[in-house]
Assembly symmetry: C2
Amino acid sequence: MTDTSRQLPHPQLADVQLPAALFALSDPARLDLVRQLAVQGPLTVAQCQATGGEVPKSTFSHHLKTLREAGLVRNEPAGRQRTVTLRRDEIDERFPGLLDAVLGESLVDGASR
Amino acid sequence: MTDTSRQLPHPQLADVQLPAALFALSDPARLDLVRQLAVQGPLTVAQCQATGGEVPKSTFSHHLKTLREAGLVRNEPAGRQRTVTLRRDEIDERFPGLLDAVLGESLVDGASR
DNA sequence: CCTACTGTTCGAGTTGCTTCGAACAACCGG
DNA sequence: CCGGTTGTTCGAAGCAACTCGAACAGTAGG
């Protein structure tokens, strides 16, 4: 079919339940990643991993998968790398106020908003 | 000492980390309980349990403990029973906007606020 | 007192998440 | 084409959380 390449499945945010989103955010490593994406915008996996501390690739990929399946981030092929994006607008529509509350401390100013 | 009776330990909200709070809220049963407390105000354990569906006492008590240790609810002796209260003001101060976002759908009007 | 009532704690079984190394897949440059 | 780079998937080991019955503790009432 029109399967251009390594496209991973992303859920519709309408299908995501709040507990699933909260669970994805309840891990410190994943929460940090979301915060980083909120402030610095789209990043490659390597860039996230570099700032996030030193963890094996597979572990990091697992967290990424959890966030993706919870509808919080988008993970798309970009040449040889992969771009990770926070689904901010969609999340804000599905769970109003959640992202702002969760980011909280890390959003001192309205930089990327 | 001045240990009047069955007082359970409650954390200072300043000591509660956001991931711990999110984790406590990431279980459907616990989230429902928090929503119920937000709308109906302080309840006895029996009252919560009645509305929340049919689960063994011990299971329910476990969820209550998780919420208590996450600083989300207060659980105090009231005669023969126990009163469960949502620590709304403290949570709002520690994690601004979080409760409103999480309650969201269940707060159509500003009833108890 | 002694019983009934309310709710927590303990212990065991099961399930699920986390973590990691190794194997696999896609892409780009020489 | 072939090697190096980037990142996901697989499988296994370790550990934490969920569930539930049974035992325990405090309280009110007869």
